[in-house]
Amino acid sequence: MADTMSSTAHASPHAPGPDVTKRDFLQLVAGASAAIGAGAIVWPMVDSMNPSKDVLALAELEVDLAPVAVGGGIIVSWRGQPVFVRHRTEAEIKAAEEAPLGEMRDPAPDSERVKEGHSQWLIVSAICTHLGCIPLGIKPSDPRGEFGGWFCPCHGSQYDTAARIRKGPAPRNLPLVPYAFLSDTKIKIG
């Protein structure tokens, strides 16, 4: 815009020559600095929309695994989402490891869904990949479906003991969440 304006607004009473290049240089430096200044003003506004410190402080969640009994589990809230923390029995682990991948809609070996050396712990998102309900099955008294994992009461999706979709309308396995073991009895999600 400035270019089109100065080309048609030639009323400045100056002569071309060395003065012009000095002036042009000054103008360039001043203009560039002003652009930097403008950027410096815009960046804090844009950054203010990024996750704030209190949101980031809740981005990681430490979970104590000691109170979770074998065969049972808990639901924890992480970044506003529900997450299953399930303590699998030997039988459940065996069933998960031996399940035929060919029968699965979203095949995934059990080893990819647990951490090495801690295969009794299954930690996955609790949001059914069909339409978002929380499947039942974390408590031993819940219905767990034919595959011993989870049964979603909304539309009948059934997950196995590695939270893989085996039956029903859900398209994919319960999503994995990032976590790490801080010790044998403590994990950090996120």
Binding site: T4, T8, A9, A11, S12, P44, M45, S48
Partner: protein
């Protein structure tokens, strides 16, 4: 071409736009070649600075509004969250708070420039009146915004100012309850103040557009108060005044930055860091500095209705200024007696500001009354009378003339009558 604008723009994409909506032609005309008097001093930069302030306030305000909660139980805490948790939230908040002060500083200088150089006189009366309207809407916006953090001053300023309207006979109490949405300043009040505070700046934007449009019809005034006679008296706005205004903008930001980064609470009130408590009145309820002169006028007379009327009158009187000042000469440069009284007015306004910050007791009461009396005397008596009687200095022939030589008109020639456009 059917109905399309005849555009001179070279770039094909921009030309396509310009033929259908001549924004680029408009910008070139109004901000590019626009003939501007060449003798502006830096006081003419304050209109542009006001625009910069408005943009800063809207920008910081929009981002603050993303994190602020307009509910009495959460407002104070949400502001603290902005200060502590939102990235650069402290910068947004201090920028917005001190930006309001900068906005009023800039606008007050802009207004006093108008008073000194006669910018309100023919043919710029409507321009001036639009400006007074802008000032009123600014005051409303500032008042509404100050309530939002829900500190002690927020709450009690809201209570005092809304209660003023109860002075209106017959319908006063009803109006106040309508404003409050209840029987005292409370959550409904806060909620609607937030809505209105977000709205008014855009009303301001529209008024500013009209203000600048009106200016571009008449052209700018200048320090000599005489109209440009030809191209030798003017310069294209770009690059001369775009560059000169940039200098002013840099100095403005220097002052603004110093406040924001090193003295962010200097112009504010400690009491507003105390959460609002309807059961405890602070010992000294005072508005922020830019409202202090009006606060002093409000308290100058014992009667509530009298004080309210005087306070509003002090601003409404400005609408009549083009007709109150009867002098045919615009600029105070050529009005030696008016010039003195101009500075007296400035001192009276500063005095009113100091009076407004003090408890209404002791010397401050008569001082406030004297300053208030002078204020109204200045506009209602002095200007009409002085305009008729003042022996003004001879005006130069043109804007270029005092620089290019040829002295003032020979003695005996009366001051030139105000030129018609």
């Amino acid at each position: 071409m059917v109905g399309l604008h005849q555009s001179d723009v070279k770039n094909p994409v921009l030309r396509w736009i310009d033929t259908r909506l001549p924004v680029i032609t408009m910008l070139q005309k109004e901000y590019g070649v626009f003939p501007t008097p060449k003798n502006f001093n830096y006081f003419w930069a304050f209109g542009g600075l006001s625009m910069v302030c408005l943009m800063i306030m809207i920008a910081t305000g929009i981002f603050l509004a993303m994190a602020y909660t307009p509910n009495t139980t959460m407002a104070f805490d949400s502001v603290e969250r902005i200060m502590r948790d939102v990235n650069y939230g402290w910068l947004l908040r201090y920028g917005h708070e001190n930006g309001a002060s900068m906005f009023f500083i800039v606008v007050y200088v802009h207004m006093f420039r108008g008073l000194y150089y006669g910018s309100y006189k023919y043919p710029r009366e409507l321009l001036w009146m639009l400006g007074v309207t802008i000032f009123l809407v600014m005051m409303a916006t500032g008042f509404l915004g100050y309530v939002l953090p829900w500190g002690q001053m927020s709450f009690w300023a809201a209570t005092v100012i809304t209660n003023l309207f109860s002075a209106i006979p017959v319908v006063g109490e009803t109006i106040v309850q309508w404003m409050w949405g209840g029987f005292s300043v409370d959550n409904p009040t806060l909620n609607r103040f937030f809505s209105l505070h977000y709205l008014l700046p855009f009303v301001l934007f529209g008024l500013v557009f009209l203000h600048v449009a009106a200016l571009h019809v008449t052209g700018s005034n200048n320090p000599l108060g005489i109209e440009p006679k030809g191209p030798q008296d003017t310069l294209p706005f770009h690059p001369y005044y775009t560059v000169k205004d940039s200098v002013a903008i840099c100095v403005f930001f220097l002052v603004f930055a110093f406040l924001v980064f090193f003295a962010p609470n200097y112009l504010g009130h400690a009491d507003n860091y105390i959460p609002a408590n309807p059961l405890s009145t602070p010992p000294h309820i005072v508005p922020d500095w830019y409202f202090l002169p009006f606060y002093a006028i409000l308290r100058a007379v014992p009667s509530k209705l009298g004080g309210v009327s005087l306070m509003f009158a002090s601003i409404l009187i400005l609408y009549l200024l083009p007709w109150l000042d009867t002098c045919k000469v615009r600029s105070a440069k050529f009005r030696p007696i008016y010039r003195v009284f101009f500075w007296v007015l400035v001192i009276a306004c500063i005095t009113l500001g100091v009076v407004g910050s003090q408890q209404p007791e002791g010397i401050w009461v008569p001082l406030g009354q004297v300053a208030t009396a002078y204020y109204f005397f200045h506009f209602l008596v002095l200007l009409p009378v002085l305009g008729k009687l003042e022996p003004t200095l001879p005006l130069p022939e043109s804007i270029s003339q005092p620089v290019l030589g040829g002295g003032p008109l020979p003695a005996g020639a009366a001051a030139k009558p105000m030129e018609k456009a």
